[in-house]
């Protein structure tokens, strides 16, 4: 075992352990935070830091193999779909007319009403 190997081993340890910590913090956030709009951000911690750190750690463990390629593909896929899914959930909540509770002294922006051109948008249905 030469110095590079030791370094990589330590690095992947650090990545995986810190990734695990962030995964737990994210789900703790999902549990502890006061309301839905705040919880979104808890889930977001798992989806960003947790995924990135764990995938990188596993990549280093796997070395230059097909496994790394697949891990990177999974990573990229989660990197793209994670925020998209979070956005979709938040957007669905907003569209039903639910507004986040604002902190003291702040007024929230009111979304523009959906314009007619949006109404044949499939996800919004034309039936309304």
């Amino acid at each position: 075992m030469n110095a590079v190997d030791v370094f990589l081993e330590v690095l992947s340890w650090a990545l995986i352990v810190s990734g695990s910590v962030f995964v737990i913090i994210g789900s703790l956030g999902l549990w502890r935070l006061p309301d839905f709009w705040a919880r979104l951000h808890g889930a977001s911690v798992t989806e960003s830091a947790g995924v990135i750190l764990l995938i990188w750690g596993m990549c280093i463990q796997a070395g230059f193999t097909l496994i790394t390629v697949k891990l990177i593909i999974i990573g990229i896929f989660l990197f793209i779909t994670g925020p998209t899914a979070t956005h979709a959930v938040a957007n669905a909540a907003l569209v039903t007319g639910w507004r986040p509770s604002e902190a003291e002294g702040l007024t929230g922006a009111e979304p523009e009403p959906l314009r007619p051109e949006n109404e044949d948008d499939a996800l919004d249905g034309g039936e309304e």
Partner: protein, 156 residues
């Protein structure tokens, strides 16, 4: 272009270079290209990818640093006993020209914990922040500028 990208993806996933499988790969890529072109023709919004790969890589590195910083602050909020949340819904203007650029910006906002793109409008995103402070507008404007730089001007 897209087809070459798909074929590269196939080779990467497969990792086997037997003639039969490569032949299947080529056939699959052609079928996929045909179906996606049918989809494009159907909904009429073709996705044009006008990004500079080098600048995109640079941006992603910057984004990683940004994600790390944001995670740190959200972690502090979650782990502190009183959870000092300061929720706010506010507008963030964007300056990207292409749809893809705008989506990269919006997803970058969502990816950095603490801010989430809730709605996309004609010229703005509605962004929800967990621990809002007045510097956030500045930070998002900075991100907006960086994403806009990733786009290449005009042409294909």
């Amino acid at each position: 272009m897209t087809l070459a990208g798909l074929f590269a993806l196939w080779l990467l996933m497969s990792g086997l270079f037997k003639p039969l499988l490569i032949g299947f790969g080529l056939a699959s890529v052609l079928v996929v290209g045909w179906i996606t072109s049918r989809m494009d023709a159907q909904d009429g919004d073709h996705l044009d990818i006008r990004l500079s790969p080098l600048r995109l890589a640079g941006y992603l590195l910057w984004l990683l640093a940004e994600i790390a910083r944001a995670n740190w602050s959200v972690m502090r909020i979650i782990l502190s006993r009183r959870m000092p949340v300061r929720q706010h819904l506010f507008r963030v203007p964007f300056s990207q020209k292409t749809d893809l650029g705008q989506v990269i910006f919006a997803n970058s906002i969502t990816l950095t914990p603490g801010t989430i793109t809730v709605e996309t409008e004609r010229d703005n995103f509605l962004v929800h922040a967990l621990g809002y402070d007045e510097n956030d507008d500045e930070a998002l404007a900075e991100m907006d500028r960086r994403v806009a730089q990733v786009e290449t001007a005009g042409g294909v």
